[in-house]
Amino acid sequence: MKTEIKSDVVILFAGDSGDGIQLTGSQFTTTAALFGNDISTFPNFPAEIRAPQGTIAGVSGFQLHFGSVEIFTAGDAYDVLVVMNAAALKANIKQLKPGGIIVANSDGFDPKNLKLAKYPDGVNPLKDGSLEKFKVYEIDVTKITRIALADSGLGTKEMDRSKNMFVLGYIYWMYNRSLDNSIEFLKEQFKKRPELIDANVKVLKAGFNYGDTVEAPMHRFEVKPAPVAKGTYRSIMGNQAAALGLVAAAQKSGLTLFYGTYPITPASDILHELSKHKNFGVKTFQAEDEIAAITSSIGASFGGALGVTASSGPGIALKGEAIGLAFMLEIPLVIVNVQRGGPSTGLPTKTEQADLLQALYGRNGEAPVPVVASYTPSDCFYGAFEACRLALEFMTPVFFLSDGYIANGSEPWKFPAAADLPELKVSFAKNELKEGEAFLPYKRNEKLARPWAIPGTKGLEHRVGGIEKENETGNISYDPDNHELMVKLRQEKVDRIADYIPLQTLDNGNEKGKLLILGWGSTYGSIKTAVRDAIAEGLDVSHAQVKYLNPFPKNLGDMLKNFDKVLIPEINNGQLIKVIRDKYFIDAKGLNKIKGMPFSSDEIKEKIKEMLK
């Protein structure tokens, strides 16, 4: 048997939601990461929780891309497709590379499953030669699992639940990986049911041994460790990173984190994560709707907490009026939008970047809100932290944008030490008034931020509200000149944030040249891969990923003018491009994909080639 060396591999595990696909995938991920591979993953859930078994709608997938080289995306086409049933094959075969490997659970291709997957009567793709250009390994996973567990005393239903461990074991064999990490995991997972530890470990080993013992020639591969920076790593998903970033910001500012939210895909996992960390004093509040979620957070901020609210597009739409209130009150508030496909309910489980304009403009009146967008799963930690910094330093609501792709995707993270994170200095207003002097709640500092005077501070009692207020005193004012002044002041405050954020840097390529790819958010990995490859092929292309979308870094305009052409790829119908064209008067070109899926790096590379022709 030969072992082939590979620089990177994309595997998709696919099956019914009940097949334990996500667990199989995440186990392989940790093991690969422990081995030293670079890795990026992306789960693909069906939209319905209990979609009918065996149907295309019920297919759940876990995509992972690992390698001995740097990995920036979960991969475009698959090298290996592991399918537990016919529907899983049918749903994903299009993305398998020619010559790719299919590992198929043959039991999932019985007449019933073929019918559920809507294959015509009598057609079985495993038998009819239609998969000729691939290598197909058919394994009766169900049967072998049951045999392995024959004397375990478990019922068939319970035995069948271990099927995924067989597949995992087999894939471990294929890439010559140790089983230790997964065995440890199983021990922990089934602490209370030792018989299940034994059963699962047995099946895991059976899968591994199957590769060794089976007579048919099967391939084995070697993927060496990647030359990643030295250090200690963990695996992190975007939503988890955002949650940790929020806790970190609360700790670094000495404030209580108040997180008001209403469940919605794909933002709920931030709530799930935060609600585990009550020992950090975190207050999570599952409100009755998104309006209560944000207004309760506003109330908490008014009281001196770090108020944060999160949702996805539909919920953000509901929060609009209250964002305006927070803007007028000029109190700190972070609004997290984990974007999904829209409009309306749209594509709840798919990714999209179509809420940028909503974040920038989606309110009545002149209400500019700073916007920070993260671009990788681990960057969500820093993005959320930074949004809190801006909110606290400038007394303003701040948008933090993430999306379904990075929120659910994971990657290794060389995490920081708490001590290396910046302190977020917060000083509540103190009563330093002289006799007879009135407190001025809207008197601004050099950043144009107003004082944060919280209830309980004697002598600073004051009233705030959404009605236009007189400069400095904050008293209600309908004076026309005052209104214009206040609108300009509030705008100026947000604009000046540009003085307090890092300058835009290039991620790759020359400072001057023929083509700049300007991305934002989760397109980062695909653009990075495409630009890296294009440069390696000798093309004159550079890449910058904007993280601050309002205000833009001060040097962004100059950077754009150093290139003959600018390409803005977005997972929407063209939003950042509108803002860039408007602000810098440049003839940027768009590359837009609106399929609820990320770009493949090839799609971007092709466009690069076309533009440089």
Partner: protein, 339 residues
């Protein structure tokens, strides 16, 4: 003199802002009673926060020399929930209107009540949208002619306090702008209750709904049409306190005290939820014949855990069992590897 010794007066709760309600509006009296009661509560001004929504009534915080927020329409209840969760030490007062609380903010009101945050709700009910100049509200009676219902309202109105009891409110009371003594007593009771205190205050909008509560507030009709309930006292009303209410099973009936002894009357017990549910249902239109009088006073009180207490208890428990959170541990997670 230390600060604790400074005795506050009603004047200390008056702001420098000009009060902008229409002359004759019932809101003035309510403001006056609240400002009068505040110094008696013994709470330092800086510990008090008034949160309101939008409406004439919701202008209230601007006139109170405490902390205050005039928020957005219908959401004062939600703002106050977050504030109380973050700052259980504060005395939080919500000021809202019948439109603000029951229409746009109906959802939040319900949830505030069931969660039982320890806050006070003052719902100024004028059975009209005052600020927007006279449209009918969810509390306006069927047939009410207003700007938006020239042929009369075809909406069945809410019975606000029955709604609140249905949402498991732990304190339910009703008072009115024209009875300062009663209102001040009810305000004090509301403040003393631990949990959400729901106080409905009948308030005359003399511009758009003048006289809506006249029969309850004017001397000539008040005694006959109102029933002032007091804990452990029989339900007596009437021009010469000559009528009473007796329970016939679950059915309240009006009796003449000439025929029936006081001992047979319904004795008010604010801890009795069943009786409270009958009391809040005494909601006849006063214009109808043979109606039961409209009750005022504290109808129901219940001791139940408050959301913010439980929230803090969980945090304390988490810290006790897991230790105060360590940021490095959190960031590191359970599984790491070193390269």
């Amino acid at each position: 003199m230390t600060t604790a010794e400074i005795k506050l007066t009603a004047k200390d709760f008056v702001t420098d802002q000009e009060v902008r309600w229409c002359p004759g509006c019932g809101d003035y009296s309510i403001l006056k009673q609240v400002q009068t009661v505040m110094p008696e509560l013994g709470i330092p001004r800086e510990q008090i926060v008034f949160v309101s929504g939008i409406g004439c009534s919701s202008r209230f915080p601007y006139y109170m020399e405490t902390y205050g927020m005039h928020s957005i329409h219908g959401r004062a209840t939600a703002v106050a929930s977050g504030l109380k969760a973050a700052r259980p030490d504060l005395s939080v007062w919500i000021v809202t209107g019948d439109g603000d609380a029951l229409s746009i903010g109906g959802n939040h009101l319900m949830h505030l009540l069931r969660r039982n945050f320890d806050v006070n709700v003052l719902m100024f009910n004028n059975e009209i949208y005052g600020l927007t100049k006279g449209q009918y509200s969810p509390a306006s009676p069927f047939g009410k002619v207003t700007k938006s219902t020239p042929m009369g309202s075809i909406d069945h109105p809410f019975n606000p306090l029955a709604l609140c009891l249905g949402a498991d409110s732990t304190f339910i009371a009703r008072s009115m702008d024209r009875d300062p003594i009663h209102l001040r007593e009810v305000l004090k009771r509301a403040n003393a209750h631990k949990g959400t205190s729901m106080v409905e205050i009948y308030q005359n909008c003399n511009v758009f709904n003048d006289g809506a509560f006249e029969v309850f507030t004017e001397k000539a009709t008040k005694k006959l049409n109102t029933l002032m309930v007091e804990q452990a006292k029989p339900l007596v009303f009437g021009a010469n306190s000559d009528k009473g209410i007796k329970l016939d099973g679950f059915k309240p009936v009006v009796v003449d005290l000439a025929d029936v002894s006081v001992n047979e009357l319904w004795i008010h017990d604010e801890k009795d939820q069943v009786k409270a549910s009958i009391l809040v249902r005494l909601f006849d239109a006063p214009s109808d014949e043979n109606t039961l009088p409209r009750p005022f006073g504290v109808f129901y009180t219940e001791d139940r855990f408050c959301y913010e207490t439980e929230m803090n208890a969980q945090i304390a428990h988490a810290i006790e069992t897991k230790g105060a959170g360590d940021l490095d541990d959190l960031i590191r997670g359970k599984n790491t590897w070193t390269i």
